[in-house]
Amino acid sequence: MRKSTARIIFGITVLVFAVAFLFPLGLVVGKGFFTPDGTLTFEYLIGVFRNPIYVEGLLNSLRLALGTTFLATLLSLPLAWLSNRYDFAGKKWVNALVLVPMILPPFVGAIGFQQILGQYGALNALLGTDIDWLGQGRWFGVILLQSLALYPIMYLNVAASLANIDHAMDEAAENMGATGWAKFRRITLPLMTPGMFAGGTIVFIWSFTELGTPLIMNYTRCASVQVYDALKEIGGNPFPFALVFVMLSVSVILYAVSKFLFGGKAYAMQGKAATTFTTERKTGWRGFLTLLPFLLVISLALLPHLGVILTSFTAPGGWYQSVLPQSVTTGNYSEALGHEMTVSSIRNSLTFSTLAVLFNLVFGISIAFVVVRSTIRGRAILDGLAMLPLAVPGLVMASGYLAFSSMLSNTAWVKSSDTLHSLFDVKTNPTLFLVMAYGIRRLPYMVRSAVAGLQQTSAGLEEAAANLGAKPLVSLKRVTLPLITANLIAGALLAFSFSMLEVSDSLMLAQRQDYYPITKTIYELFQLIGTGKYLASALGVWAMMFLAVTIVGSSLLLGKKMGALFRV
């Protein structure tokens, strides 16, 4: 790649990042540190830590994040290890099924979860008890739901790092006299730590700032809900911004530590693997015993989905203190999908997500090209910059975009023009900011998958095209892009489905009903008295089906490389 081209892409990318990412982020931080008349103050930050409610919220969020990360690791580690070591009947199926929880945002699952585990839910009806499973330890319910939804990220990372370990490493340990636990603790575990940390960081940041699940589970004493509520109330309150700054700091520090410790890369194995690793075949009841943990985790993880599906077919009020719904109907679907809010929200989500994916494709491919194929000095910075959105919670970004939007819409030249007003004011039309939010936050996945594709495609192939007279753009179109199509499609599908599922930005930025995306509509439907959760479930099932197709599609395309998408 020509240096000048690389520099131009570098310049444009940095500019876009500055405007769409760093500036709004700066606004959030600024609002937490500057008084309305522009003097620097630490009062707000100190105020956050002096306010016992905020401190409690932060500690609770921390507890949610630690608990979720721990539980997700606990769920995924044994599965990844078993799948790496053994062959058994049904392995192919469970390997695909463990990823299924990703097709439903955990906050929708929460509805179904409550139907099953709530005080008047299915479990109590089955047992004849009236224990409030989620009431006392509601925070545990949130943790359970989040880890059941997020463990696939952990699983993919751990599985990928296990697959990368040269089997001879293991054999060398046995040869030196280590076996069983000693071998696992001293050799296997340290070698898969980078993968665990990479996955764990994403799970931690995600659950630390998750908004939808605590909202639906009515667990309001955590930082994310506090920020959401405070920002909804009044514009002038600076404390939520200071709180956002604290959350941002925790996320960025964790991300930096993870980057610093493991550099985003697994230990590069030396030489080529001498022994092709053959998995041990377990048959009969041994095979079933190996399969069993998968079945347990999968059925547990699909419990919320099952609850949502059942709820969606339940006539309002028809599932109360009973194991299964008492009266079944398809009416929820016709009502939910026929609701004017729904029709427009499906159209909106498709529009926002498609635009965001286009943004991702253009920038993802360009960035990947500069990072992999050019020799300019800033390419490592670009690589780091493109990964940075992983460290920034959606809630923080949403606050930033809100601040950005209110700043822009208050300027004179925006006020004077209707077009500009509808472009920059989220209260009028949130399209620009929602696309920006979806696009920036999903960019890392796109960059990762494009980089992976380019790294596997020898530069020699492009040189051969150039040698035969192809101009750079022609060789890109005719040689490179076709070779990395699978990666690009997979990355795009993931970016697309995550955009469709996006919660924090959607809840906060979409403020007019005709611009609601699906997730916000689900949340709004949920709040309808009486029929709320049934309609929300029906729309949730619709979204679930839609996303199942895209996720299964991308996992078929990427196969085992899927894990690479979720690396820090």
């Binding site: 040269d166 001879a168 490493m169 054999e171 060398a172 340990a173 046995e174 040869n175 030196m176 006299g177 280590a178 076996t179 000693a182 001293r186 050799i187 340290p190 070698l191 730590t193 230990y267 590069a268 194995m269 030396q270 030489g271 080529k272 693997a273 001498a274 022994t275």
Partner: protein, 362 residues
């Protein structure tokens, strides 16, 4: 410390293929033994059976007096050097080397001392605190060797240890490995497909093909007196010719091929008149030019092609006229070259260099 390794009637199959097919082999204490063969011949499988990574279907493996056939790898006390080195990237050189001692619950002071000794033996003392990925291929190789040596194994196992090194380093390391094995008095089993490595380093070697041992003996034995067409062809270069035993008289035997008749002193007890055999003539045993009077095996031919390599000229000499065949002839320290066109030349070979083998596919 050094023990013998006895393999009896060992069989290991993968699905339909029999990777090790009834192999019986005894390796003496302190011997540096090579398993040599093309890829897929079963040499690595045999080594991994000895290490315990493969469980044989039948047969037994003894180390010294102990039957280790059913023992798991970690109880066998073998030190293995892996083809990929398999150095643990999250540990330093010293930690890698100390690991085996740790597993054996050796005390701290003793461990430190032995790690130091082992690193000194492979000349890596100054790299003790490096991580494996900070080392060159040759250095990693040395560390892998130290890691295997430090536990004072009953038997050192080396799986194509030099295949990831460049040519120059390979030469250096193979003499180094021999020095270390001999200094430590170790029984060592070394797997390779590189015949030069085997010839130059081995005390004894076994040529494997299709899961069976074609021949076992000292390098000189196997080179000079191959027993099968495969063994003759795999080690060194040779010319094969199919023929029949025409006459056996006293200490000599006459074999006739379509091009000529050859006199040999080999295989007198093994063959009888009329047997179909294959002749093996090493290119360096074929001499170009006039033979002394009374010399048998003098054949007229034509120089067909010549490659000059400095210390040697490699000729293709056609014998048996236009419908005949080419023989490869190495002329050491060549003075006169027949480079231009075809030129008449006679070649001769000593009767003791005419090797007779059972008929096989060359």
């Amino acid at each position: 410390m050094a023990v013998s390794v006895e393999i009896k009637d060992l069989v290991k199959t993968f699905g339909e293929t029999r990777a090790v097919d009834h192999i019986t082999l005894t390796i003496e204490p302190g011997e540096l033994f090579f398993l040599l063969g093309p890829s897929g011949c079963g040499k690595t499988t045999l080594l991994r059976c000895i290490a315990g990574f493969h469980q044989p279907e039948s047969g037994s493996i003894h180390m010294g007096d102990q039957d280790v056939t059913r023992l798991p790898p970690h109880q066998r006390d073998t030190g293995m050097v892996f083809q990929s080195y398999a150095l643990w990237p999250h540990m330093t050189v010293a930690q890698n080397v100390a690991f085996g001692l740790e597993m054996r619950k050796v005390g701290k002071a003793e461990t430190a001392k032995r790690v130091k000794e082992a690193l000194a033996m492979v000349k890596m003392t100054d790299r003790a605190d490096y991580k494996p990925n900070q080392l060159s291929g040759g250095q990693q190789q040395r560390v892998a060797l130290a890691r295997a040596l430090v536990i004072h194994p009953k038997c050192l196992l080396l799986d194509e240890p030099l295949s990831n090194l460049d040519a120059k380093l390979r030469l250096e390391m193979r003499t180094e490995i021999r020095r270390i094995c001999k200094e430590a008095g170790l029984t060592a089993i070394y797997v390779t497909h590189d015949q030069k490595e085997a010839l130059s380093v081995a005390d004894r070697l076994a040529v494997l093909n299709g899961g069976v041992i074609e021949q076992c003996g000292t390098p000189q034995d196997v080179y000079l007196k191959p027993k099968t067409v495969f063994a003759a062809g795999f080690i060194g270069e040779t010319n094969f010719m199919n023929g029949t035993v025409k006459k056996i008289s006293g200490e000599r035997m006459i074999i006739s091929t379509p091009e000529a008749e050859w006199e040999s002193i080999h295989g007198l007890a093994q063959f009888k008149e009329g047997d179909e055999v294959t002749l093996s003539l090493r290119p360096e045993t074929l001499h170009l030019g006039d033979a002394s009077p009374g010399q048998p095996n003098v054949v007229g031919g034509v120089v067909h092609d010549t490659v000059y390599l400095g210390e040697v000229a490699q000729h293709q000499i056609r014998i048996g006229g236009d419908s005949g065949r080419n023989l490869k002839v190495f002329d050491l320290n060549p003075r006169i070259l027949a480079r231009d066109g075809e030129q008449a030349a006679s070649i001769w070979v000593d009767a003791q260099d005419v090797v007779i083998l059972p008929r096989g596919n060359a």
